[in-house]
């Protein structure tokens, strides 16, 4: 890696003592000796193992659950169903007043995705929990499922989630989050060329080497210590408090040393049910996702579909950009309504375009609920935007890098969501990339600056 100190030197103090220094990491000695303590490196006498009975169907009504054989299985200590969860219907962003509550901790009457948690089995050994889980009988009436976002939005599509009443998230702005800037139709009318293209992606897993999990130990004083690899301590504690209807003062979360997250450990999934198990049995409880659960049960990055329609001039200026984005939330909201909204604020990308129209939708389908992942709301959008930029440049016969210089935002430019640009630096990145990759651009572009227009 090289630091190019010549850029922005006038805005930077470089006479610092500790900041800017390549100090060794304080945690690395623990990593290389195997001494770093992750949550699962704790072991408690009498610890129970929790295994989840999961839905084999994408969408089904539950006509009945029979746990009697499982409860009798040797080594089984407790079997939990929806009725055991004090506040079973929840949503994690309710903490900051974003609802509605739309997800069950344990399925109640219905399952909406293949893999949904239905019954939790707590046993002395993992093996006993697995054997007992196999003895839980769930009577399902399979319902039609919908997997394609376009199909889900059509009238008459199977309703995925009754708590929403339709297969999309209802924002205060309506069926989508909107950004309106300038006059989009006037922009298209003046354009020399119009290009409309569709981009899409499928779900992506964080795949941290350490799977999601927690170990809960009763402290003996009505408090419970939860050793967890959550990415958000109080967010998880406070949601657990709501779900369990327990005062937060009864909960003690210990974490902060996590074997990779990438956004995959911000859903509050394992902790509440494990705490409930510890509370109802009085014993320590371990609930750790198998790798199979991590891959297919934990929330992935949402699949997206993005339609970009651009108006561009022969001289390289983009004069209008209309983006319609669809985020596949799966069966429940989790963080996806926010992800779609983040996308709305991110478009039209780091470019100054006078006429912008953005609609982003959060759509429900019968698949594993998606949620946060490294860059969500932006990552797939950047793929779409930057491939579109390449196509536009070729459409008008311009070098793709020079085409970007013409449109890149600079300090003071108004963004579509009405924030003035501050601290822009993309022009300098492109100038340096031009040199590093030996990708020549005209001298006038190398003379540009993010500081002000007209250079």
């Amino acid at each position: 890696m090289e630091l190019r100190k010549s850029y922005f030197a006038d805005q930077r103090r470089d006479n610092l003592h500790e900041v800017g220094q390549p100090r060794p990491r304080s945690d690395s000695p623990g990593h290389v000796t195997g001494k770093t303590a992750y949550f699962a490196d704790r072991n408690f006498p009498g610890m129970l193992h929790l295994k989840m009975v999961r839905s084999p169907h994408h969408h089904a009504r539950i006509r009945g659950i029979d746990t009697s054989e499982a409860e009798k299985h040797p080594g089984v200590v407790k079997v939990l169903t929806a009725k055991d969860v004090p506040h079973n219907v929840y949503t994690i962003l309710i903490l900051i007043q974003i609802g509605p509550e739309d997800e069950t901790v344990l399925a109640d009457g219905k399952v909406r995705w293949k893999g949904e948690a239905v019954v939790a089995v707590l046993a002395e050994t993992e093996r006993a929990a697995q054997e007992a889980a196999a003895k839980v009988k769930v009577d399902y009436e399979v319902l039609p499922a919908v997997f394609d976002m376009e199909e889900a939005l059509k009238p008459g599509a199977p309703l995925v989630n009754e708590y929403h009443g339709q297969n999309y998230y209802l924002y205060d702005s309506g069926e989508c989050r909107k950004v309106r800037f300038g006059d989009i139709e006037a922009g298209f009318a003046t354009a020399d060329h119009i290009l409309e293209q569709t981009y899409s992606s499928s779900p992506i897993e964080h795949a941290p080497t350490e799977t999601t999990g927690c170990i809960v130990a009763p402290e003996g004083n009505d408090r419970f210590t939860c050793y967890t690899n959550t990415q958000a301590m109080f967010f998880t504690l406070d949601n657990a408090s709501i779900i369990l209807q327990m005062p937060g003062s009864k909960l003690h979360f210990v974490g902060g040393t996590v074997g990779g997250g990438f956004g995959g450990k911000v859903d509050v999934i394992v902790e509440p049910i494990a705490i409930l198990g510890a509370k109802l049995t009085g014993r320590p409880v371990s609930f750790i996702y198998s790798r199979e659960e991590e891959m297919q049960i934990s929330s992935p990055r949402a699949a997206e579909k993005i339609i970009i329609k651009d108006g561009v001039m022969n001289d390289g200026r983009i004069v209008a950009r209309k983006v319609t984005g669809y985020t596949d939330a799966g069966a429940y909201s989790r963080h996806s309504p926010y992800g779609a909204q983040k996308g709305a604020a991110h478009y039209p990308g780091p470019y100054t375009i006078p006429n912008v129209w953005i609609d982003t939708y959060c759509v429900y389908t019968n698949r594993t609920p998606s949620s946060a992942m490294r860059g969500f709301g932006v990552t797939i959008g950047d793929f779409a935007l930057e491939v579109q930029m390449d196509k536009l440049a070729r459409l008008i016969g311009m070098d793709p890098l020079e085409f970007r210089f013409i449109n890149t935002y600079r300090d003071g430019d108004m963004k579509a969501h009405r924030q003035p640009t501050e601290g822009a630096a993309l022009i300098e990145c492109m100038q340096e990339a031009s040199r590093a990759a030996n990708w020549p651009v005209a001298e006038k572009f190398l003379a540009m600056s993010s500081y002000a227009k007209g250079a």
């Binding site: 690395s28 290389v32 490196d41 080497t209 990779g260």
Partner: protein, 160 residues
């Protein structure tokens, strides 16, 4: 449940435990013996985080039944720095900033150690092959490859 005895040396010291038959070595090490340096990343044999050395060979402790290790010489990353000082591989991982979350690190170091035990001056391709059963999600592998190559160089300098 009937318990079975297992006895082996772990990092040079004798260990004996009664375990449930069918217990994996990974569980026996972590939950019975208290060596948590091998990590359970998949229990499928696909991530390498539980890699250890049995009788000089790299093995996956998650797929090895503890009972099959009676009399074996078992080595883990926790044993590399016994006596205080860091092993050259551990030092090289530190210096190369080759750890981020650290969860794959003990397994990576085991895989690298077996390589260097047999091939003191490996090529880059040999390092890549030696690490090919170990998943890292943070680093992009390059710093780890560089750390192993650096450790090999420092080894050969020490010998010279």
């Amino acid at each position: 449940m009937a318990k079975v005895p297992v006895q082996f040396t772990l990092n040079g010291s004798e260990k004996a435990e009664f375990i449930d038959s069918g217990t994996t070595l990974l569980h026996a090490l972590r939950d019975k013996i208290g060596d948590t340096s091998p990590k359970g990343g998949c229990h499928q044999g696909t991530c390498g985080a539980c890699s250890i050395i049995i009788d000089g060979e790299l093995r996956l402790s998650c797929l090895t039944l503890a009972e099959t290790c009676n009399g074996a010489d078992v080595r883990t990353t926790a044993g590399l720095s016994e006596g205080g000082g860091l092993h050259p591989l551990q030092r090289a991982f530190l210096d190369a900033f080759a750890t981020q979350c650290g969860f794959c690190t003990p397994g990576m170091i085991m895989a690298a150690k077996v390589l260097l035990d047999h091939t003191p001056n490996p090529s880059r391709e040999e390092v890549v092959e030696a690490l090919s059963g170990n998943i890292c999600r943070c680093t992009g592998y390059e710093p780890i490859i560089q750390a192993v190559l650096t450790a090999a160089r420092s080894n050969s300098q020490n010998v010279a």
